[in-house]
Symmetry: C2
Subunit: 342 residues, 2 copies
DNA sequence: CTGAAAGCGCTTACAG
DNA sequence: CTGAAAGCGCTTACAG
């Protein structure tokens, strides 16, 4: 691999001149410039960015650490972040902590020692104590999906999503609205539960604890929860599932019980527009604006890099409800006119 | 951010000694070692890996460039690659070219100038001319899913997958097996088409060009293709769809036509176990061993790094058929006993 | 405009 | 075992 020194020698100039030609920051006579460029081409010279970064104390690289590479919002999150990064010539790289706190910690350290200019982090778990060092070192970082004290962050308001779901179901005439919870250590869970309760209150429905069932996160869990809910004496006429997998299992349970969705029972879910679109019937869902979350987070990070002492910001974005067939939609509801026979 | 120099000063030793303590490569007396470690802790000293890499000419970092962050096989591909990378203490970072050749090129350059030790590339498009420089520079690289001349690669044998699908369908008594193609610039397409023909031949079915229809890659495309196939005078009794989205649309078309899957018509697809599992009926599919592809690719890359002059390797892995409800499965077929009423 | 030189923060022979 | 020094490949004042 050739170096700036070789280029300089072959072009019969100093290494400073080569550097000036390549960076364009200092004018160089056309004669020398061309000699340099010719040699660069001939050698396929690739400047050593490590040396450059070491000198200028900037890598133009952002690391994004995600807890689960399989998350349905990842593609849009990444696209949004990329889009914003590209505008300012940053390279975005993604690392995967696999929901292991130890890996997350290692990756954070790896990124710091490699002197990335900033970090986007979707933290795993609920403990944030391992982020203290990062905060104290004032490493530019933005947390995704979690409101970590003292750090910039971008979160979705999951309570709104759940509330809107419930209100939508109630507006469609549903009286008894159940909720299949997701993984208990999912931070969004508590918020959604709150939104669920708020939605009930605002719609004049009573809160009934027995309508809340645990669910983990597989289709089998959803199926199991569905079977148990449908077997009840006072069967609910609407069910909110914490994710599309639960919803899928639930739909199977409904089908097996010879019930019709949405006629007999409505179903709503969260996130994962792809799966919700694929299911039959298509499933109404409250979705995080994942692409916007990605771009906002990156913008926030770039601001933090440029202005390390700005005051902390936490951007909270609203989720949005996409009405589909599973809540009795048809054309009417997808136009916002929620007229459903319960 | 503190440097090795500050640590040395506070611990009253030379910077060489600090380095020796941290690397462990040269023994240091317990007295000095402890003094150093105490200061390291106190300052939260994070060695500058850029400087280290510059000196030792090694970054311990692998870059993986993927053409589409939304690809269903990505999570497993990444996990497999990570697993293998971790075993040898490499950091794996993912970049996203967004199916743009220009971005791919930029990312390759960015990785080279940052001196990653190796690259894993899932190339976009079908042209490989832009990889010439990489090949000539002998940058350690392994291509995924594409057999690029002169470069190591790991590919799945899509023809086998298609062939097995067809044979499975034929064994179930299906006589007229149609094929909805995916995106025309998908390299796997041609292979699958070949496998489709082979499968027909081996099953004693005649090849009929009119049974092959274009399809792009959305549920709507699948729906459209399905509608047209089902309306035919001589309606096929089995359809192979190039991806799960096409299959989803196709299932809708079947449902709308008041036909039953698998009773009236069988459906099979490729990859995307998640979606195939979610659809109703669950869809039989030929799947790439994506996790294994990831780990094999990484292992190959690490070998190439250690032994730059080894001869080129191209690993071809078999796809595997997962039989589900859509091909008339039931318990029998999922046990491998393909007894289907056609 | 051009070149010589210092310095970014490490590692590693080399003396002692 | 320990320290002084060279050097990895760049950028950037500073003279000329």
């Amino acid at each position: 691999m050739s170096t700036i020194r070789e280029v300089a020698r072959l072009a019969r100039v100093s290494i400073g001149t080569v550097s000036n030609v390549l960076s364009g920051s200092v004018p160089v006579s056309a004669r020398l410039r061309e000699r340099v460029l010719a040699v660069v081409q001939q050698l396929d010279y690739q400047p050593n960015h490590l040396a450059r970064s070491l000198k200028i104390r900037e890598t133009k690289m952002i690391g994004m650490v995600i807890d689960d590479i399989g998350r349905p919002i990842l593609p849009q999150l990444m696209r949004g972040a990329e889009e914003a990064a590209l505008l300012q010539d940053y390279l975005l790289v993604l690392l995967h902590s696999d929901q292991k706190l130890e890996r997350e910690q290692q990756m954070l350290t790896a990124l710091r020692t490699r002197r990335v200019d900033g970090i986007l982090l979707a933290p795993t778990g609920t403990s944030h104590s391992h982020l203290r060092a990062i905060r104290e070192a004032k490493v530019p970082i933005v947390c995704l999906e979690r409101d970590v004290p003292g750090l910039d962050c971008v979160v979705a308001d999951h309570s709104t999503g759940a509330r809107e779901c419930v209100r939508h179901l109630a507006a469609g005439g549903r009286r008894s609205i159940a909720f299949i919870l997701g993984n208990p250590d999912d931070a969004a869970g508590a918020e959604r539960l709150r939104g669920y309760r708020e939605g009930l209150a605002e719609s004049g429905r009573e809160f009934d604890e027995t309508l809340i069932v645990g669910g983990a996160s597989s289709a089998d869990d959803g199926h199991r929860a569905g079977v148990s809910l449908l077997a009840r004496e006072r069967r609910p006429d609407a069910i909110l599932a914490a994710d599309a997998w639960l919803a899928a299992g639930l739909l199977r349970a409904i089908h097996e019980a010879r019930l019709r969705c949405p006629d007999d029972i409505a179903v709503a879910s969260f996130d994962d527009p792809f799966c919700c679109e694929l299911l039959r019937p298509r499933v109404t869902a409250a979705t995080q604006p994942s692409r916007e979350m990605g771009s906002k987070a990156m913008e926030l990070l770039l601001k933090r890099i440029q202005e390390p002492d700005r005051r902390r910001a936490c951007i909270r974005l609203d989720t949005f409800l996409t009405v589909r067939e599973s809540t009795g939609a048809g054309v009417a509801a997808s136009l916002g006119v929620t007229s459903v026979t319960g």
